[in-house]
Symmetry: C2
Subunit: 428 residues, 2 copies
């Protein structure tokens, strides 16, 4: 066990630089913990000249990540480039073909090509590990795949995009509209080059699809995630939800139902006093529920150099220690494609609408809801400010199809000014 | 990899029965996840005839756990008997000597004999795993040893005795005195046969000493834990702390300081809005801090059949999957005995005293504190109810030695009725 484990690192952005730094600074500690040294043979990045604040001349340089992945002196290909196609995919495939293990932080790559990559890796007797791809520094893949291996997982939930949670909690704390906080986040460099990856829920949905595959023993199926971003959430929604005892989160939920696998990444209300409700700023939280363990909640930084590099190193150390596991916890060849659940399990909903000042307006709305089989748990009407009165309704558990019927009918009543807003309430 | 992993289970209380149940109910799932079947060869318990609601006649029965541990058809000895000496220790030693791996939920055994057992196991090329010994269903040993293996751990904190947290939060929510809630907990069966294990902080201190050994790469040293139970906490303290924005928790803290390893299990104040402050009832929470990962918070059930059996099964599955690791994350032969830090790192403190109704009383107290170098951050004096007035003081960061000097001097002033109460404030 005293041969070093030799890495080839492709991508020297924040995370790659963080990994190099840890390996340089903690050589003795890592070696004591792994029972063998962990070394870097070669690195690769787009620009060779750039000063990254860390010494790189001890390592061979490759301009081409594919060439890096194929080097004889590399045992583990560490893919920190990102992107679900192009060089990251090419180099990962090349690494597997060349008989290397892979550690990656690339959620997009695995969400799109995870099953095919897992099949290839397992055919070649190699592992792909991706703790850093989900919820940054939180060892959630490990907890789910290994720690909870004695459970049938019943539900996985989480706030897994720190930027969205920053925007939503900052809107509330500063009383600012979405557009303004979005601009702030952009100025602070919190947003991806394509902001839809964040605020459209795509990045978080990538992560959810990976957790769902492990949790339910199915092929990763990103395309089946019901996805809705936070762009339509107003400061009024946030304040009204708070008045009713809730917070709004971009919440991912995956659960196996009688109708198939339900995967949702949508804005939801959660109780203000719940762990999810109390989550502020860019922090991530994942809730794992199993038939034996009941509920485990994991909370930590979802991004940043240190936390993400910590997750990459967890995977590297596992490989150094000889831990070998199928990519998604069970052999990929045996994973089935889960039928996607149409719709979503019944839940309480929060409805907001703006009533015109006409007698009987509220009664009409209530009648339509009742006719659709939706019963009202709580209702709050605010003072008219101008000609309209905001009305908030919390329903009892309702099916989404019934709700949609009512939501379609309400505007035709002539007593609301805009289409009603409906947000699911997810309870822990 | 298709040979079954064969268990011998000693102890068929709640947890042992839970483990048997999982292995019977989930044979196919466990086999798919581990790549091999997990089976039970033999079991052992004090009473053979007792109906445990689970079928046992498929397994050989041993009256003597030592004989169980030595059986040829046992690969892993699962020790769920408890007790830090006697049969649990004898059988664990016998298992190691017979070349078996060990999975145990026994925190007392490992807190007292963990280093010697680890040396013996590693000499024999065997592993001892103990996820279930710390914080029930939360995979915290795994997170710390494996997930955060790329970090220097800076601090480990936690609420790790659900009974104490139940008592403290129930006192607050119901406004009841300690004695009454202690009796309730006793009636509900929440307390160990020797309640000092719970309310004296011993059980939680066992757990802390195990986490500290892993976190700081030192020999487990339970005897060095500074320990104080919750028996002296009054409903007044809880209410006053709440007034100042805090909750009282039996909090374990381990950190490496310039003076050596500090291990404390004592009642502390934590901010009411922090994750620790918000922890209600019997739930456990562990906070792991590392130089790269910053802070990870893990929350989950600290006891019970399902959660504890889940943790045992996580260990069993790791062994079935071929994961092998030194008992405390690094070879025991290389672990040093950490010098115990005398005293504790400076911190803000909460002080409560009862002032007599004399002019200048408060000034005298403030002067003594000032003379000891302790500055006051916040102070609150309540109305006199009777002849005395409760006074609460939150200090700025103070050394415990300075504080103790002041606490000794204050009663000699003749202006307080009882010895002042001082509780450390631990901030996240």
């Amino acid at each position: 066990m005293n041969d070093p484990l030799r890495l080839g690192i492709a991508g020297l952005g924040t995370v790659g630089t963080g990994v190099v730094r840890i390996i340089r600074q903690k050589a003795a500690l890592l070696s004591a913990r792994a029972g063998r040294p962990v070394t870097i043979s070669a690195v690769s990045a787009r620009s060779r000249g750039k000063d990254r604040g860390v010494k790189l001349d001890d390592y061979a340089w490759e301009d081409d990540p594919v060439a890096l992945a194929q080097r004889d002196d590399v045992d583990v290909f560490v893919e920190l480039m990102g992107g679900h196609d192009g060089p990251a995919k090419d180099a990962t495939e090349a690494a597997i073909a060349a008989g290397k293990d892979v550690v990656t932080a690339n959620k997009a790559l695995l969400a799109h090509h995870g099953h095919a990559l897992a099949l290839a890796a397992e055919d070649a007797g190699r592992v792909i590990r991706f703790e850093a791809a989900v919820a940054g520094g939180i060892p959630v893949i490990k907890a789910l795949t290994e720690g909870l291996a004695g459970n049938d997982i019943t539900r996985v939930m989480g706030v897994m995009n720190g930027t969205c949670n920053y925007i939503l909690t900052r809107m509330q704390s500063a009383g600012l509209p979405y557009e303004e906080v979005f601009q702030e986040a952009s100025d602070l460099g919190y947003l991806e080059a394509d902001p839809q990856l964040d605020v459209g829920g795509i990045d978080a949905a990538h992560k959810l699809s990976l957790l769902a595959a492990i949790a339910f023993g199915t092929q990763v199926d990103f395309s089946a995630v019901q996805m809705e971003g936070i762009g339509a959430i107003t400061i009024q929604d946030i304040n009204h939800a708070a008045d009713m005892g809730y917070r709004i989160k971009l919440l991912g939920v995956a659960q196996m139902t009688g109708r198939g696998l339900e995967q949702r990444m949508t804005p939801c209300l959660v109780p203000a006093a719940s762990p999810l409700g109390q989550l502020e700023g860019g922090t991530n939280m994942v809730v794992l529920e199993g038939d034996n363990v009941e509920q485990i909640v994991l909370r930590g930084p979802g991004a940043g150099m240190g936390p993400t590099a910590s997750a990459v190193m967890g995977d590297v150390m596992d490989i150094a220690r000889g831990f070998r596991l199928p990519v998604f916890g069970q052999p990929a060849a045996g994973l089935e494609h889960a039928q996607a659940a149409g719709g979503s399990t019944p839940a309480p909903y929060y409805l907001r609408m703006s009533l015109t000042d006409k007698p009987g307006a509220l009664a009409k709305v209530a009648t339509v809801l009742g006719d659709a089989g939706i019963s009202i748990a709580r209702m709050r009407q605010y003072d008219h400010t101008g000609p309209n009165a905001p009305v908030l309704i919390v329903t009892h558990k309702a099916g989404r199809a019934d709700l949609d019927r009512a939501l379609e009918a309400i505007p035709r009543l002539g007593v609301v000014t805009d289409a009603p807003i409906a947000l699911r309430i997810e309870t822990a």
